[in-house]
Symmetry: C2
């Protein structure tokens, strides 16, 4: 459901590019990652952490819990790169053998670490668990490791040096993997870049523009500048655009900032955030800041808009509620939609969306009402109103604003894109840009 | 958010086990899979397809689009296994170089395939796209390949033999990967197993039982039998239990069936399906078959229950609609919840859930109403009603049934588990088992 694409700066990566962008590998261990039961998300997480430092993940080798397979993968990766991450297999059960496999490759012993042991003992006491030999086993590390205590779990991570190679061993559960990255790996990476920190970067989250539109716009304005890359990530109803400088230093940083200024001006109508967030969270901040309240009336989205709005903690401050009006009867009886409008324009029409939005606003005594009606598919389409035809409306104090959309994709993505379009309409009103074109 | 676990049959895998369970590898190609933008789901998909044939994925090597990296990974995998899958890099752009890399490893040429070319030409004509050289490029295959036409895309898959090794090359987009698996790879696997087909297997989807409960139950009843494995996959509000025989033949098949009969009897209250499906789909079939209609009243789930119910195509036949009553005012005004009940028991109570359920049933003139009210977190908890306290209710013609839940996890998983618990209550009524204990 999402695609990605990279547009490189006007200078193509030459001989020096290899130095600026350092290759990294990951070895993910765990039979459950290969059994079809658990999705391996470590590569995505790690790549996202590494990108701002100019580090590029070149290979992820996922192997079972067998020590021979782990050792083989670690040995292969160490022959190719000088920064390696290994995940998983540090837990308390007999099939957690990653530390032993890594020790074998490095020709070292496995030893118990005192700091890790007291961390584990305290954690188990705090949680009222017995400090069993199985739990204590998690204090074992490869000899010579810098131990990275686990802020949210038992088994610590490890940093190992072997010649000029650095090897991080991290716990497998995704929350623990991320917590050890945050607490130990990122500070180490920041120190490694001689205090220069992350590469200059700027992110835009967009709604209502496709990747090809933005690529054409960039071309017209001769963007990105020298030594700046643009990466896109398209998902239903949203486009992420990320500018990243290829090196540290004021010159590239200023080029990233200038390019961001230009894009902000060119894409003002479509940008909903300049940081990693979600549209419901942005809407929530705007509504809270302005002391306004919102209600929704959903037909084809079936509750997804309400679900997304209430996914933001504290949303009860501004979200009043909603009506899932899946039938015409419900639209008439509960939202006050005029039967004549339904008969004249059909349930999927801008006029019905507008009456639903006004109905939601009135029923819940809210400042704003959103109405969505459409055909999510796979059935129910006609020649005039094919699957993916969706009408969204926003009612405030003044005349309701409406949009007619022609969306493509699955039932799920049509529903999601519909909620995104409706929220984007509200965002523009809340930002004081009601007159913007689509 | 999900965990997996395997309980092996009473006979531990001995020397012969390696033969019964054949090792397979996957090489996933695509720079986007390593950039943090796209999640690699191929390993999970492939493992799920292969399991019923006794084939076990031992390694997934994800590499960038570079031909040298692809060739290196393919060469390494072919040295270890005799059945290899390669995904991605078959598209029209210059960085789609998987076929060239595979051809290099096998010492063969890349040639244009006539059947693939006419398939691609017809598909592009049907979609009103010009048959450009870039599109035509997708008809290139490795010499000697059995071409596997792509039912939902342009680039075909390929089956290649090299000595006693078999190599499948499959398109990278997940829908195309699955379509070529279904159309070509699965029939080939079925033919390979000498007509024996899939290994004997039985799946149960459960609600309201944890993995440890079921493990204890299995132990008490000396299950699984010889040469039968049990695998679990736990996700919020759901547990999947899969019995798989280790070999073909009537003896193991009958042991799987006998174990399934025992489990069906022991877990009757908790089993909601014996096939791969979802609880909303099961509910939909039951409601449709009985000609009954459903409406919902949601507080803490914020629309998620409506969203899940309407994720089933055709749900408008039985889903009447819902009210997202996030505030007390909405609960009183729109659902007719008694202000005294709210004052006496609080918004998060079985009595309020019951009144919400009755309100939804009445407002939408439905046969059944569901009410959910609770504290999804992270804020809003108290000592008496901590985060994760959720009350669900089901109203039909008779007295409403209610359940008080103590859920753990994130806001998202608490919401999901709440909808699951409510749907499970309805399923048991629709199946005529109102008196079952939890």
């Amino acid at each position: 459901v999402s695609s990605s694409h990279e547009v490189t700066g006007s200078q193509s990566p030459g001989a020096g590019a290899g130095k600026r962008r350092r290759a990294v590998e990951l070895v993910s261990t765990g039979t459950e990652l290969l059994s079809g039961r658990v999705l391996n998300t470590h590569a995505r997480t790690l790549a996202t952490y590494l990108a701002p430092f100019g580090l590029v993940l070149h290979r992820d080798t996922t192997v079972t819990d067998e020590p021979a397979a782990i050792a083989d993968a670690v040995r292969g990766a160490l022959a190719r790169v000088d920064l390696l991450f290994v995940s998983g297999g540090l837990g308390p059960t007999p099939d957690d053998l990653t530390r032993d496999a890594v020790a074998t490759v490095l020709g070292r012993l496995v030893v118990s670490d005192a700091a890790a042991e007291s961390h584990i003992r305290e954690r188990s006491e705090r949680r009222g668990r017995r400090f069993t030999p199985a739990i204590a086993r998690q204090a074992l590390v490869v000899q010579g490791a810098k131990v990275l205590l686990n802020p949210v779990g038992y088994a610590p991570g490890e940093r190992l040096c072997s010649g000029d190679k650095t090897l991080f061993v991290l716990p497998g559960p995704p929350t623990e993997f991320a917590a050890v990255m945050d607490a130990h790996v990122i500070p180490w990476l920041e120190a490694q870049t001689d205090g220069a920190g992350r590469l200059p970067q700027h992110v835009f989250l967009l709604c209502g523009k496709g990747e090809s539109d933005v690529v054409a716009l960039l071309k017209r304005h001769r963007l990105p500048p020298k030594e700046v890359d643009v990466a896109f990530c398209a998902s239903p109803g949203q486009l992420e655009l990320r500018l990243t400088g290829r090196r540290h230093g004021a010159a590239v940083r200023s080029r990233v900032e200038k390019a961001a200024d230009t894009l902000r001006r060119l894409l003002a109508e479509n940008v909903f955030a300049e940081e990693d967030t979600t549209l419901p969270a942005v809407i929530g901040s705007l509504l809270r800041a302005q002391g306004k309240r919102l209600a929704v009336a959903e037909s084809c989205t079936g509750g997804l808009l309400g679900d997304r709005l209430t996914s933001v903690p504290g949303s009860s401050e501004y979200f009043q509620g909603g009506l899932i009006a899946y039938t015409n009867d419900a639209k008439i009886a509960l939202l006050g939609v005029n039967p004549d409008t339904l008969a004249r324009d059909g349930a999927v029409s801008e006029s019905v969306a507008a009456e639903m939005a006004r109905g939601a606003r009135r029923v819940f005594a809210a400042d704003f009402g959103i109405g969505i009606t459409g055909i999510a598919g796979p059935g129910g389409g006609s020649e005039q109103k094919p699957v993916g035809t969706v009408c969204v409306a926003l009612a405030g104090q003044e005349e309701a604003l409406t949009r007619r959309l022609r969306l493509s994709g699955t039932r799920e993505t049509v529903k999601f894109s519909s909620t995104q379009a409706a929220l984007h309409l509200l965002r523009r009103i809340l930002s004081g840009r009601p007159q913007d074109r689509e």
